[in-house]
């Protein structure tokens, strides 16, 4: 599915919505969409992931990169509304505490994620 990026600007920063497949094709395109990430010093970016239907290693790696990039470029980066696909990968790779964002799991999905490891804030 073609990736979609929607941008909403507010006083404090941006809200970005990604939809579709967060996989290699999206990641290939990402650099063309990266302007918004590079001039946001002191601001907050909320990345809404509820529309992500699939995510692969390239996608998760991009999220990891953005988190690290935000820290070195002094803006605040948060993931929100993780879709089940995203949650499952974060769970599998033990990355929940790395991003440090609040994670909401719908009742019907509670059997699909375990959060056995990688959830402690300080490990």
């Amino acid at each position: 599915m073609e990736p979609v990026q929607t941008l909403r600007e507010s006083n404090s920063g941006f809200e970005i919505i990604w939809q579709g497949y967060l996989t290699v094709p999206f990641v290939k395109e990402w650099k063309n969409l990266s302007d918004v990430w590079t001039n946001t010093k002191g601001k907050i970016i909320h990345l809404d992931l509820q529309g992500i239907e699939r995510i692969d290693t390239a996608g998760i790696q991009l999220l990891v990169y953005l988190k690290e990039f935000s820290q070195s470029n002094h803006y605040s980066f948060h993931l929100k509304n993780h879709s089940l696909a995203v949650l499952k990968v974060l769970d599998l790779l033990g990355l929940v505490s790395f991003f440090g964002d609040r994670v909401k799991v719908k009742k019907e999905h509670s059997n699909e994620v375990e959060f056995k490891y990688g959830t402690r804030k300080f490990s």
């Binding site: 820290q71 790779l93 990688g118």
Partner: protein, 719 residues
């Protein structure tokens, strides 16, 4: 694996931890400990426990476990800090020190175990206060009458599969998704824990989203065999780094694996600890094993702090991460090296210095300016290497002074005296070997000062002094030596009393000499004590004679100064190092001698005419300086009466004296070779050296040579 070295490292490190612990605890007597202080004590005890567990030292582990509980309660503020805890923890520290050192020898006694239990009993109320629980294990401590066999590293086995997976950089372009392979693992077992590592740059230009920068360390449980687990990665394996260790693999396997992975070994150790492959204890074993694979020794002191090392694991970033990383980096800039290795290096450098001096001498005789220039350059570089290698063994005396804070505190309590210890010149550096050997003499002198140096508070008050007595330890460099002063503001020594004691013992007779120093030297005579009563602290026969022997064995000397009613000072003068000295080479007949260069002030022509009328004195710019002829002490075969003589003016402490020799051969760097045990009691010589020419030169021990001269002169006058 040879564990002797590792156990030695454990002892050294434990000693350091315990000393730090004591220093912090002593501070808590005057101020409430900070969180950093409590964390430091906890870390010390925790590390000792971990390492002791690794070697199977059960008594140490059991005792430490309870102390650790108490400290954990304190640092988490579940147990409020109370003054009486200082005393209990100081006793715990002492007992721990006993356990650490004696358990390695298998010499724990029942009596000491009971003592340990009594300390733990005192901790009970505090532990109860925190959670109502006291570990029952404390009651089970039993003495280990023999040394327990140390556990072999190979006895450790990892609890599940360890899968180290680093996909190839271009794995995405091949249409492969590493996560899907990891996900598939769940079909044949359980992922116990997984840690993602990253090599992602945060530079936008360098980040290629199509490259794979992630890697994974996986703790995996499965009933399937290694081959089946490996098959999960069949498609991706050929193009990636994949290493699977089966359950039960040992520390050596982990070490081998860490050598193949891009991450730093210590970081990997922590990663494996986090995913449950290693425990606290086996992490230490792993790091020790790494140590043996490398030339340097990694300190477990540092290792205990590596739970959050700098590195590329994906950790939640906190504000202080950068600072923490910087701290960790600075810690790793110090390494511990076995002192034997340094001794070996210094010996070799010493040999090199001698060989080069010889070579230089030969080149000097040749008419080749290029060669001479080169040889000068080599000598200059070699001198720098010599300086650097000598500095490797230099340690500040302050660490050694530190332990007397406790000695003084405890003795003060025991003797009912209020004593304050002041240390100065803590940064003064001295050869480690000398510092080690200084421990006993300094302890003796400090105890003496506490016991019969200082008065009780009541006596002091009567004399119009402050109730609190002061002992001062001061160290400084002076003319190539280190001077250590132990002073007190107590009673002082009455020289009349010393003289009378010496008469009573039959050591001297006649009227007391005017020279205060001469009288005070009697204090160093065996069996002479001015203490009016024997106490637990001193006055039991082991006296200053032993102190003097120890100091003399280090080529040092002691002088005593005292003002009755105001205090005393014991002044120790020691050489900076025992290994290499800058010497001044002189010759008498066919024999060559070396005078330590730092004692040489000047050299003058010596003729019978400029000799003072008074026998054995030489006039030097208006003052008379005593001198001796080296030939009188070391007769030589040569009898050339017409030889021109020279006098070398030397300084020993505050005094000057002259040594008459026949030829001055100039400055000479030399390695001191200790005299054999047969010559141990020979006075006036501190060692020997082999010269570049192959000849042996004796190194003159100026203080003892003059002492001997004074003794001979006194004997002559008495006759």
């Amino acid at each position: 694996m040879d564990l002797t070295e590792v156990i030695d490292a454990y002892l050294v490190e434990s000693d350091e931890f315990l000393r730090d612990m004591e220093a912090i605890l002593l501070r808590t007597e005057v101020s409430t400990p900070s969180d950093d202080d409590l964390n430091a004590i906890f870390r010390a005890v925790h590390t000792i426990k971990g390492t002791a567990g690794m070697f199977g030292f059960e008594s140490t582990v059991k005792f430490t476990h309870v102390v650790e509980n108490l400290l954990d309660g304190l640092r988490s503020h579940n147990i409020p800090f109370q003054q009486e805890l200082t005393e209990i923890l100081l006793h715990a520290k002492d007992h721990l020190s006993y356990l650490v050192f004696e358990e390695t020898k298998g010499k724990i006694t029942e009596e000491k175990i009971s003592f340990g239990n009594s300390i733990l009993e005192k901790m009970k109320p505090f532990l109860k206060e925190s959670n109502g629980e006291v570990p029952t294990k404390t009651q089970e401590i039993t003495p280990s009458t023999e040394s327990k066999p140390t556990k072999s590293n190979s006895s450790f086995g990892i609890p599940g599969y360890l899968i180290s997976f680093r996909p190839n950089r271009n794995v995405f372009s091949q249409g492969l998704d590493p996560i899907s392979f990891i996900g598939y693992l769940k079909k044949i077992g359980t992922i116990r824990s997984l840690k993602t590592v990253s090599e992602i740059t945060n530079n936008l230009n360098e980040f290629d989203p199509e490259n794979c920068y992630l890697g994974f360390e996986i703790h995996f449980d499965s009933n399937y065999d290694l081959e089946t687990v490996r098959k999960v990665f069949n498609f991706i394996e050929s193009d990636s780094f994949l290493h699977i260790l089966p359950p039960g693999a040992g520390i050596e396997d982990l070490c081998n694996l860490s050598g193949q992975l891009p991450e730093e070994e210590i970081l990997l150790g922590n990663l494996w600890k986090e995913i449950g492959i290693l425990t606290d204890i086996s992490l230490i074993t792993y790091l020790e094993e790494l140590k043996t694979l490398k030339t340097g020794i990694v300190s477990t002191a540092n290792l205990s702090n590596v739970t959050s090392p700098p590195g590329s694991t994906l950790e939640p970033t906190q504000g202080n991460t950068a600072n923490q990383s910087a701290k960790d980096t600075s810690k790793s800039s110090t390494i511990k090296v076995d002192s034997k290795r340094i001794d070996n290096l210094i010996n070799r450098v010493g040999e090199l210095v001698v060989s080069c001096a010889n070579m230089n001498q030969l080149i000097g005789n040749m008419d080749d300016s290029n060669l001479q220039e080169s040889s000068i350059l080599v000598m200059r570089l070699l001198n720098e290497v010599r300086e650097i290698s000598l500095k490797l063994r230099m340690v500040p005396i302050g660490d050694s002074f530190q332990k007397y804070t406790r000695t003084v505190r405890d003795l003060g309590k025991e003797l009912g005296k209020d004593i304050r210890l002041i240390t100065e010149g803590n940064e003064t550096e001295l050869d480690r070997n000398i510092v080690d050997k200084l421990g006993d003499p300094l302890t003796h002198l400090v105890r003496n000062a506490c016991d019969h140096g200082l008065e009780t508070p009541e006596e002091r008050e009567k004399k119009g002094k402050t109730k609190q007595g002061t002992i001062k330890l001061n160290a400084y460099h002076e003319a190539g030596s280190v001077v250590i002063e132990i002073t007190d503001d107590g009673n002082g020594i009455q020289k009349e009393k010393v003289w009378q004691k010496a008469i009573d013992k039959g050591l001297v007779s006649g009227p007391m000499p005017d020279s205060e120093e001469e009288v005070f030297q009697l204090l160093f005579h065996p069996g002479l004590s001015t203490a009016s009563q024997i106490t637990n602290v001193s006055g039991r026969g082991v006296g200053l004679d032993v102190v003097l022997q120890n100091i003399e064995s280090l080529r040092g000397n002691i002088t005593v100064k005292s003002t009755p009613g105001k205090g005393s000072a014991f002044i120790l003068r020691l050489p900076l190092t025992l290994a290499i000295i800058d010497g001044f080479l002189v010759e008498v007949g066919n024999n060559q001698f070396i005078i330590p260069m730092d004692m040489v002030l000047e050299c003058l022509h010596f003729t019978e005419e400029n000799r003072a009328e008074t026998n054995q004195f030489f006039p030097l710019r208006g003052s008379l300086i005593p001198y001796l002829r080296l030939r009188d002490y070391y007769p030589s075969e040569s009898n050339d009466k017409n030889l021109r003589e020279n006098i070398v003016i030397v300084r020993n402490g505050e005094k000057k004296a002259g040594i008459v020799v026949e030829r001055l051969l100039g400055e000479y760097q030399t390695v001191i070779k200790p005299m054999g045990s047969v010559f141990r009691h020979v006075k006036g010589v501190s060692g020997s050296s082999i010269l570049g020419s192959g000849n042996v030169a004796l190194i003159i021990d100026i203080p003892s040579l003059f002492e001997r001269t004074i003794a001979l002169e006194n004997e002559r006058l008495n006759q």
